[in-house]
Symmetry: C2
Subunit: 369 residues, 2 copies
């Protein structure tokens, strides 16, 4: 009954899933792209776009799950045909890999979204722009990540390259949001579903920079309802991250989805009774989910993004750790690159988000100094 | 500056040290006795009593530390001569390996202890018994662990075998204690020292069964003072566990020492801002120690000892996890053996020790059912 979880992708999410596997007593194996991956401790190196490689890896584990969305669906369908247990299933993953499929399905589920349209010619774009204030967001249906595959357009001409490449595209209303939220939840294959508190996410240059849990004065009931509708409607297994826009009127609109542990849930490692990484393992093994109750009233997470000059953030542990702070530093064992997600800091507070943020920021500044 | 910690011994303590290494971004390597060790994820297999093996292992890491006390001191002295960073040093470890050396040194430090004497003949034992009520505890100076190398004696005849084997022995007053406590603390090589709250430990058949944190109405000030005197006086680096007897008069007497993370500190994984495993890594790398503040007012830890009939405790995750409980289950990935430490459960409560214990016990019963 000691089960083995196989994770495709050797990034920091896989690394952080190794932790609850060690704690709970599961075996864990990782199929990583490169020798020096953050999850190398449990990794074998192999190409996740090669069926034979993935098939051999799958033969050594009880369930396959993911660190990223980049495994071709055909490969996963072939595994399913082999009888492999893939969680989430390719049927659900389609909606995390393909934004066009996602928008179509969410429309069927009556989930609130920005206005959107499928476009395949410059005229389609111009028509959408004409009815949406002359500016909109153009996205490639697949391959987008951390700001890639997304651009602001003001004319069909702005899409000439993508149209020429024959990319499947969709255009979305540029929402005049007041802030961004994320609703994390998890669902196991038996259908049990549980949500964490809705959080506020702060992006800088398209990359998540901060997460505040819980989001101050958010419509948590609507956020949870949306997440549950999506988790159930799409048949998601594991952690589901729903990124949301909050409009000036307090309305919530679905921006993006991810079906794996997500940057907006890192706070849960210390901030929740059950972390998103433990919950993901429970869910994909179809075990009962754990409590998503907070261990503290407030949590703030700051990403450690590679600064302009070389710094792995480990140089200054001494300075960061002499602070009287309850901050927790996480480093992913990555080599330095400017802008790279190298780690994160989480600070908890029973007093306020401001207090948690001040603690995290002091640690951040000490690590950089 | 990404440092590599080398751990000798592949047991559950090494396994639980891998977790903070992953979180903090340290590399970790383990020298394990066997292929299927709890720490196998980071392990190479080798004999820790073979100098060449240990030397080769030491060459791949920045600091050597331990999962157990069984590395011969001569091997560690040879490493020191090579310039290897060994923490705690063999000078300190001597006192964890040899109970006679420990008693002599603690006497110099005026640390309160049971009456004791070095004995090398049946007459020595009889003389000690005559002045201590006719019953005492005889111990081999080295090689004792979890009740081994310890016996109750009522006559010098009871020691015939150990005396014939020429074992170095000490005899100790059989303390009429009301309960057993443990004081965990950590010290880095720069001399920073920090203690966790003193805990109560409950043994069954010589093996730790439960830990209650903090110990109800204990003389925490005296316990901390004793631990600090020992940590400083013995030059300990890393986690130091001081096992204590509490007498009817409330006096604390030192029973045993360990210089590594210890069963009495497992509660700190969820129960403290900084776990004993993270603290041990910080201390042996001579980094600042982290807060030992509680994350909750009360914590109870129950050991999962292999029951009479085969059970890895993983068979019943489903039952244990449907309970409304904040219990955390830890399994060490060990094969079943009756009486073996297979894992542990920690439950936290803001209300009372009784509440934490009830939660942990409900989970324990569900896992066994």
């Amino acid at each position: 009954m000691l089960r083995t979880v196989g994770i495709i992708g050797g990034g920091q999410l896989a690394r952080m899933m190794i932790v609850p596997a060690l704690e709970l007593g599961f075996e864990v194996k990782v199929l990583a792209e490169a020798e020096k991956s953050p999850a190398k401790l449990a990794a074998t190196v192999g190409d996740h776009t090669d069926l034979q490689t993935v098939r051999e890896f799958a033969n050594t584990v009880d369930v396959i799950t993911f660190d990223h969305e980049h495994v071709p669906l055909q490969i996963l369908e072939a595994l399913i045909a082999d009888g492999v247990n893939v969680q989430p299933s390719p049927k659900a993953l389609l909606f995390a890999q393909n934004k066009l499929a996602m928008r179509k399905r969410l429309a069927e589920l009556n989930v609130p979204m920005p206005d959107w349209a499928e476009v395949s010619a410059a005229e389609d774009i111009d028509a959408f722009l004409a009815s949406h204030g002359g500016v909109a967001v153009l996205k490639t249906a697949t391959g987008g990540y951390d700001g890639k595959g997304v651009r602001i357009v003001r004319s069909g001409v702005d899409a000439t390259d993508w149209l020429a490449e024959g990319k499947a595209l969709l255009i979305e209303e540029k929402v005049n949001f007041v802030r961004e939220l994320a609703q994390l939840s998890a669902r196991n294959s038996s259908g049990q579903w549980l949500a964490w508190p809705v959080v506020q996410t702060i992006q800088r240059e398209g990359v998540c920079s901060e997460v505040h849990s819980p989001a101050d004065h958010a419509d948590s009931e609507s956020a949870a309802k949306i997440a549950e509708a999506i988790a159930t409607g799409l048949g998601v297994t594991g952690v589901l991250a729903v990124e949301l826009f909050e409009t000036a009127g307090g309305k919530l609109l679905v921006n993006e989805l991810a079906m794996r542990p997500h940057n907006s849930g890192h706070f849960s490692i210390e901030g929740s009774v059950t972390s998103q990484f433990e919950q993901h393992l429970r869910a994909v093994l179809d075990l009962p989910l754990g409590s998503t109750e907070g261990t503290s009233a407030y949590a703030v997470m700051l990403n450690l993004l590679g600064p302009e000059t070389s710094n792995t953030f480990a140089e200054n542990f001494e300075k960061a750790w002499v602070l009287e702070s309850n901050s927790h530093i996480h480093l992913y064992g990555k080599e330095y690159r400017a802008g790279r997600k190298m780690g994160h800091i989480t600070a908890l507070s029973s007093d306020s988000l401001a207090d948690a943020r001040a603690q995290a920021l002091a640690t951040y500044n000490a690590l950089l100094a």
